[in-house]
Symmetry: C2
Subunit: 296 residues, 2 copies
């Protein structure tokens, strides 16, 4: 059901795409259970959560709150940060990723039907003091090989997120969809997929072929929408905005994902100081409004 | 002559690679003729200039100062900024690019033997109010088609510079070496080449194959060195530093360019607030020192 084809009038918020998911980073100050409340009040049917806010109330409480919210669960952010060489720190990171897999499985089971057990992986940047980019990228491949069987057993898909190249050094040595797909290729698509995030990928001359390939290979585990701003924010991490509030023509990207047959949830995930300073309910409503022009 | 093989002791600064060029952006506050002086005093044999500082003293004066400096000329920055749709503004931009070609030819003719008539093109970002990225990219192709014959006549190579993807919207819709090479492909390599700038390209998983292809196709018109910093500068345009002062392993990139047979000048071009606040002679000497570990 899209706004254009809807004929029901009894639904609580008929103009909101039923595929829309509110990523809790967009309402960063809300916390649980307020994220669930504002999503519901704005007529949004799904949420993506961050581990920090789940940890704040405890997994069991988060699971109960999610279950009683009636919302779908679309992803957990985030695993990853495993680019360091072998050693204690790396072992701790991989253990933490296994815990994230477990949390993701518990949350997905508690969400409404149609929930997705997807763990978003921000793989990590250059290890402190290192300039060895190939080694950092190899460490990602090794981590996936180690975690994939664990994820498969738990019924969780690890979703490798290519981040904007500006974050290659500080957050993710995976910068393009093609690179993420190459990393995912050796593994069962149920265990390892990719995230398509418009903010991170819009500039890439190969993004259309990357999306088509991701669809063909059954790897689109998560689709996230955010716009890019000009001028660039002084904290470049926060250079994102709600769809339609920046310079990115999102419609062709939405169409490219739809053309692959992807019918899963579409998360709006925005890091933006002004958005974060706004009342969460207002943000949730603005989020719902921001995608109305898109064919979700 | 490299530092390792030099046997002369009478040269003014024998440790400085004879292929090193000081891009005047690195000593932004210096202006002409101070740029020539500090390059010479630091033992650097070539300079790349910006049009603004040439305009400040006038082209004729700049030409005379360059000629009497005895330095080679390695590039002029910058042409480009022609992504807007057809109309008065676009015509003015293309006319301005023709003037830049003429200035470049005059400066290259005044430089010492081995000078290069290379005009660096920063193609421009998204036109104000537009979200049409394909149109902006098509406008670049059209501009090259219009300017290439003029450049060829003048003996100037237009060097398309892929900028870091963070500048796709505000400065250059050309973000990768592959994309720049595709744009250059229809034209005589004497008329249209590319810039290989390590700051802009280091993160790209395809950078090695891009450099190899650029060499094979005879397109490397300029090679620029800069490092990338972590944490990211609050003005992301200035997130660069002298070689060795950031997170990028420059040696493999230098080797990849050398492997293509490129023997031209190697410019150090750094946008960095701290570097700009430092005395230009000190910066020129630090620039010379910063590349000593590289096989230029």
């Amino acid at each position: 059901m899209t706004p254009e084809t809807s004929t029901t009038t009894s639904a609580p918020a008929p103009q909101v795409s039923p595929r829309l998911s509110l990523n809790s980073a967009t309402v960063k100050r809300a916390g649980l259970p307020r994220v669930f409340e504002v999503a519901g009040e704005a007529g949004i049917g799904a949420v993506g959560l961050w581990r920090e806010e789940v940890a704040e109330v405890g997994l069991d409480v988060a699971v109960k709150q999610l279950a009683s919210s009636g919302l779908r669960f679309s992803s957990l952010c985030r695993g990853g940060f495993f680019t360091m060489p072998e050693g204690t720190e790396r072992r701790a990171a991989l253990d933490d990723n296994r815990r994230a897999v477990d949390e993701c499985a518990a949350l997905a089971a508690a969400g409404a039907p149609g929930s997705a057990a997807v763990l978003v992986l921000v793989v990590g940047g250059m290890p402190a003091g290192s300039k060895d980019l190939p080694a950092a990228r190899a460490a990602v491949a090794d981590a996936l090989a180690e975690l994939a069987p664990y994820a498969l057993d738990a019924g969780v898909t690890l979703a490798v997120e290519p981040l904007h190249p500006i974050h290659c050094a500080d957050r993710a040595v995976v910068s393009t969809l093609e690179q993420a797909l190459d990393l995912a290729a050796p593994f069962d698509p149920r265990a390892v997929g990719v995230v398509v995030d418009t903010y991170h990928l819009w500039w890439d001359p190969r993004v259309a072929e990357g999306i088509a390939r991701a669809g063909r290979e059954g790897r689109i585990a998560s689709f996230q929408l955010a716009d890019a701003m000009v001028p660039i924010a002084s904290d470049v991490l926060l250079n994102r905005h709600l769809p339609g509030h920046g310079v990115v023509d999102l419609a062709p990207l939405v169409e490219a994902v739809a053309a692959t047959g992807y019918t899963g949830d579409v998360e709006v995930e925005v890091f933006n100081a002004d958005v974060w300073a706004t009342d969460p309910l207002e943000v949730a409503r603005a989020t719902a409004a921001s995608v109305r022009h898109l064919a979700l």
